[in-house]
């Protein structure tokens, strides 16, 4: 076990159940995510891993179980999602920048209009973050003038600028051209090194291996296996995980 896992539990999922029109998508999901930990969620398409992420910041309502975020129950009826979402950053598969705003306006929207922070301070922070992803000189561009990889890096900066305590990445490289995948994954790897708590859904096995403290393998809406990357990739315990990993092996 890595040292990181000694951090306190930030996000606790217990008995989570999610249904769409009676069809069970997620069933009895139990997972604790510690501060500073990077959890990568793997699984075949349609197994419910994206849905799991969306449940964590209230984009989907759940039918059973409980989610606790730094000790606070997110299943409470009176939960103020607007406040919770400021602390849980999320980046999606589609380039989800707002097309009518420049890069900088995209980044400033949340901190200024939602968090009502001081503009000077946010600008300074945005500059540091943009420089880190190598896109500061594109701050006045519109999203349509950027490549897919650049847009995704901006989307990450936009989420980071809210100073979230945890980041959720929902297949952020799935819609990208292969040569742009690396630049986005490098940003996420950098965040991992800094100790950002992250839950990552991805199909990039090499990346999963490199970034994860823990791999959670979901099959048919259930957690099938949870292990360190070394254990999972070299010696998967379940037959289902073995089959899944075989898909990625070309021999």
């Amino acid at each position: 076990m890595t040292i990181k896992e000694k951090g306190q539990v930030l996000l606790e999922i217990a008995g989570l159940k999610k249904e769409y029109d009676g069809a069970v998508v997620l069933d009895n999901i139990n997972l604790s995510i510690h501060r500073g930990e990077v959890v990568v969620v793997l699984g075949a398409s349609g197994c419910g891993k994206s849905t799991l992420l969306r449940c964590l910041n209230g984009l989907e309502n759940i039918q059973g179980g409980e989610i606790k975020f730094s000790g606070k129950s997110l299943t409470d009826k009176n939960i103020k999602w607007q406040e919770i979402r400021q602390r849980i950053g999320m980046v999606f598969q589609n380039y989800d920048l707002f097309p009518h705003m420049t890069v900088m306006d995209n980044i400033l929207l949340g901190p200024l209009k939602v968090q009502k922070r001081d503009k000077k301070e946010v600008l300074e922070e945005a500059k540091v973050l943009l420089e880190r992803v190598g896109l500061f000189e594109r701050r006045d561009s519109f999203p349509r003038q950027l490549s897919g990889g650049q847009k995704q890096r901006i989307a990450i900066v936009r989420a980071l600028c809210m100073k979230p305590e945890i980041m959720l990445f929902d297949e952020v490289t799935a819609a990208l051209d292969p040569e742009m995948v690396r630049e986005v994954l490098d940003v996420i790897l950098g965040l991992a090194k800094q100790g950002m708590t992250m839950v990552i859904v991805t199909h990039e096995m090499g990346f999963a291996k490199a970034v994860a403290d823990r791999i959670v393998f979901i099959d048919a809406g259930k957690i099938c296996e949870a292990a360190t990357p070394d254990e999972f990739f070299q010696n998967p315990k379940t037959e289902r995980a073995r089959q899944f990993l075989n898909i990625f092996n070309f021999k």
Binding site: L59, W81, R85, Q86, M90, F98, P99, L109, K113, A159
Partner: protein, 225 residues
Amino acid sequence: MLNSGISVLVEGINLQRLLAGLFVTARIALISIVIGSVLGIMLGLIRTSKSKVVRFICRFYLEVFRIIPILVWMFIVYFGVTNMFNIHLSGELVALIIFSLWGAAEMSDIVRGAIESLPKHQIESGRALGLSFWGLYRYILIPQAIRRLLPGAINLSTRMVKTTSLVVMIGVIDVVKVGQQIIERSILKTPTASFWIYGLIFILYFIVCYPLAKLSKILETKWES
């Protein structure tokens, strides 16, 4: 013959009368476009509501104005409603009311269509940033919807300008009616009067509608770049 006929345009105060008629046309159109747009935008936003009852009521309102011809609406209010409640409403006021309500109905559909055409993940990424319901509309949905609804809204405006020619049926003296009066008076002396007068009216309508079309083009290219 045609050469001699053109003078009918400047004879006496004919030109001033036509321009005064055009002013009536433009005034009815402009005021109803403004009122119709404001009401229509509000109604269009309401139509994106999740409540089925609210959506049905708004839809019903739209269909009522689509199915019943504008002319019939003006007759209903100008002759029917005034008679029923024993009140007097001027023709122009009735025209303003009907055109505003019609504009609002059509505009609401354009606004609803524009908002619903926005990709769903725009809403989700806005929500994921912690935006409130109103923040989402104010910063994400409305600014993007305006760009999408512009062609339809301008089209509606020019339609409204053109349809004002119906107001003559409830006794409003608009540019077409003034033209008819001039033609009737000059027809014996100038047999080609209708060609010149209607020709001028054609150009006047063009002058009113063309800037609208041009404006939409300019805004579209500006937002595209």
